[in-house]
């Protein structure tokens, strides 16, 4: 998932910025999302890359996740567990997580000896 932010105000005396965050593919303009004042002493301002990373890690990531959680659920879904039966699954909408881990499925084979 990609995010965006917009600095609305910069106060050099107070070393403070006011920022809005949103997802890149948010359904509304970034102007519609909440703004937050951030003290630059909390961020790594060594260069642009460090600034963006620290801004997102300390503030942006959580705000963007919260925005997504608040959005309405259009597709009612259910969870599944246990024995897999494709016949039962046809036509159902299943809830699942988008897996961001780097773990892949190991291919194994059960044999009878």
């Amino acid at each position: 998932m990609k995010a965006i932010f917009k600095i609305i105000k910069y106060n050099p005396e107070r070393q403070q910025i006011v920022v809005r965050f949103a997802r890149l593919r948010a359904p509304e303009s970034i102007e519609k999302y909440r703004k937050v004042a951030i003290n630059l002493s909390h961020l790594d301002c060594y260069d642009s890359e460090s600034f963006v990373k620290s801004l997102m890690r300390k503030f942006g990531n959580d705000m963007v996740k919260q925005q997504e959680e608040k959005e309405p659920i259009i597709n009612e879904a259910e969870t599944i567990s246990g024995k897999l039966n494709f016949e039962d699954l046809v036509g159902k909408t299943i809830e699942c997580k988008v897996d961001e881990s780097k773990r892949a499925i190991l291919k194994m084979r059960r044999v009878e000896l």
Partner: protein, 163 residues
């Protein structure tokens, strides 16, 4: 680009198997809640298991010649993995935190136990006339298993107790 570790995992009936392939100098972290591995087998290379607890630091260097390595001492501990060489490692994990297992490598024919599972860790051994490959696994029964190793490596894991 930084050296990396790629992780694989597969849930089987009573246990799960993990495998990691990493490049020399790669660093991996396992948090206490995720550290459920009971046994490791290093197929290739050399890797260090490091623990840091306050001022105390421990390092265990593991490699293929160590055979099946009992790593229960690291259960539910923070573990820092550092690759001393390019490596390929396989881990046997309990699904249930309250169940423990005993593992051993089999080099010749043996009598099975219905609480045991067999896992091919390397090579192409033949058991009871069936040719097997790495990551093939089987539930064992109370019967004789005729093994031709063919330079393969076979692990047998037996559920030993419920806490």
């Amino acid at each position: 680009m930084n050296p990396s570790i790629k992780r694989f995992v597969k849930k089987c009936e009573d246990f799960y198997i993990c495998a990691e392939i990493g490049e020399k100098m790669a660093v991996g972290v396992e948090y206490a809640d995720d550290r459920l591995t009971l046994y490791q087998y290093i197929v290739k290379g050399k890797i260090s298991f490091n623990t840091i607890d306050g001022d105390n630091f421990t390092r265990e260097i593991c490699e293929s010649k160590d055979g099946l390595i009992d790593v229960k001492k690291y259960l539910h501990q923070r573990l820092l993995l550092t690759a001393d060489e390019d490596f390929f490692m396989i881990g046997f994990n309990s699904i249930n935190k309250n169940v423990t297992w005993d593992g051993e490598l089999k080099t010749k024919s043996f009598t099975g136990d219905s609480n045991s599972w067999l896992l091919v860790l390397d090579g192409k051994p033949t058991i009871n006339g069936k040719s097997l490959s790495r990551f093939d696994y089987a539930k064992l029964e109370d019967k004789l298993y005729d093994v031709t190793l063919n330079d393969g490596v076979i692990g047998v894991f037996t559920k030993t107790c419920l806490f």
